[in-house]
Symmetry: C2
Subunit: 305 residues, 2 copies
């Protein structure tokens, strides 16, 4: 086993939300020395209770780290963690690697990578998918791209966090681009599932039967199968919030407009997420798009008054 | 075994296209006496070669039949087969059943059923899904609704043709409504898959890798997985043509507008099928929507000049 795959790496995890917390515990379980940091002191305290170390700022968490894993929501937060006040770029060890998991525009990923690499550190563009449970089990899917050196340095963390690692290219941006294609489809599929199930209810169909028929038919999607049970149960506790797809389909629109590439289907889907957010459900589960269709059209779905 | 599930039923199959031919052979294989009819004399001749009987008109095929299976494209053709010149309604035995498999507006299914039932015959609303291969194997999925008598009379044919039979209600219209919900989703998913894969190509991503990543991710759909190999291979030989979804998403728009129910995502998808048909690809495989995106945006996909 080479040095780069050895255990007992010093790893900082910045962002201890539902994904980051699970990733941090997976890293600890694999034998690494993990320091967590979050804007929520409670989250840090909880990680310390589980045997991790805590830090007050990203800079402090990253001090001397071999690997910094950033698990935040977007490009702006990632940039702040890297180069903002108390950022990690100045305190991470030279030749260490920054592993960025936020979904973002590939151009931004390329810019952040270039800026960090100029300081003698590596950048791995590594968006994740799989949800909180798989994060906690160390079984995420990671869509990664970066220099061979970035991959080599990041390998111990990747091994501990991922069940499936796609190596998608030798520069930052490719990982982000693949993730955005996934988000385009996922967002459209949630909006379509919502449109279909609310329209089925409008026609008086039994939506539990609709779920049974569609999941066994050519109209099925991963998102239909995963999200529509929230509608059947009338449970909009956020597993993933409406605002996530307002953001991600928004990035798609920006990327596509800049590339002079029309994307009318995802444009229509984005409007439905915006309508749902505008109705006050932005922080609810993204299956709330179905609730928005139902409320607008006077259709009754389970759990709605 | 009751009389209604006995073999050696006299069955007419009207429409010997890729689906109807397979259904007719499945019925024959199950021991029934099957007469086929099609506007194409060649199709009828081919069925006779395989040991079936042939008829020149629907009326002739249906003469004295216990069951008439209609496998045509739309509501207009179904109505002609029932009540047009040389239609079956006058020649089918009293108390026999008409099994209608075309995808159509539920209101039209209800109207045709009412009109046929007034003559003392039964109507089973029975849209199908599964493709030509499963039709030939007697392993279709059938989304059926109708009176208990219609189900009882149709049972021998259903048993021979379907691997999975959904019994969705005791009146015509419900089967059609479930099928339309499936078509809404299927159509949006093809358009979204096309938008995504062409946009991925525009960004310079390896679309074979995109296929590998997406089919293992939350952005997957049955249609993405089934149709995008046609794009990867540059093979637009029609397994199912663009015009099918021009029709089916069109029915969705009509139904939704009549119900005062907005469906902006499927409306956007329909426009993409229309653009593809307008570009001269209406009779090509429905994955041609990706080719349309690529041509408009100057992106090169496999097999395109």
């Amino acid at each position: 086993m080479s040095a780069s795959t050895s255990q007992n790496q010093r790893i900082a995890v910045i962002g201890l939300g539902s994904m980051g917390f699970g990733m941090a515990t997976s890293l600890k379980r694999a034998g690494h020395v993990v320091t967590g940091c979050d804007v929520s002191a409670d989250a840090v305290a909880r990680f310390v209770t589980e045997g991790g170390a805590g830090a007050k700022t990203p800079a402090e968490a990253a001090k001397g780290a071999d690997i910094v894993v950033s698990v935040v929501v977007n490009a702006a937060q990632t940039e702040t963690i890297l180069f903002g006040k108390d950022g990690v770029a100045e305190t991470m060890a030279k030749d260490s690697v920054f592993l960025s998991s936020a979904t973002m525009d590939p151009d931004v990923a390329r810019r952040l990578a270039k800026q960090l690499e100029a300081t003698g550190r590596h950048y791995l563009d590594a968006p994740i998918s799989g949800g909180a449970q798989r994060a906690a089990q160390g079984e995420l899917t990671i869509l990664a791209s970066g220099s061979p050196a970035a991959f080599e340095k990041a390998r111990p963390a990747l091994d501990a966090m991922a069940a499936k690692l796609y190596e998608l290219g030798d520069a930052a941006g490719q990982g982000a681009a693949f993730k955005m294609i996934n988000q385009l489809l996922a967002g459209v599929h949630i909006a379509a599932a919502s449109e279909a199930i609310a329209f089925a209810a409008k026609q008086g169909l039994d939506i539990r039967k609709v779920y049974e028929v569609i999941t066994a038919s050519a109209g099925n999607s991963w998102m239909f199968e995963n999200r529509m049970p929230h509608v059947l149960d009338g449970d909009y506790t956020p597993r993933s919030a409406v605002e996530i797809f307002v953001k991600d389909l928004g990035i798609i629109q920006d990327m596509a407009r800049n590339a002079r590439f029309p994307v009318p289907v995802s444009a229509a889907a984005l409007q439905m997420f915006l309508m749902t957010a505008a109705s006050g459900m932005g922080r609810d589960d993204d299956a709330s798009v179905a609730r928005m269709y139902a409320r607008v059209t006077g259709v009754k779905l389970p759990g709605d008054k």
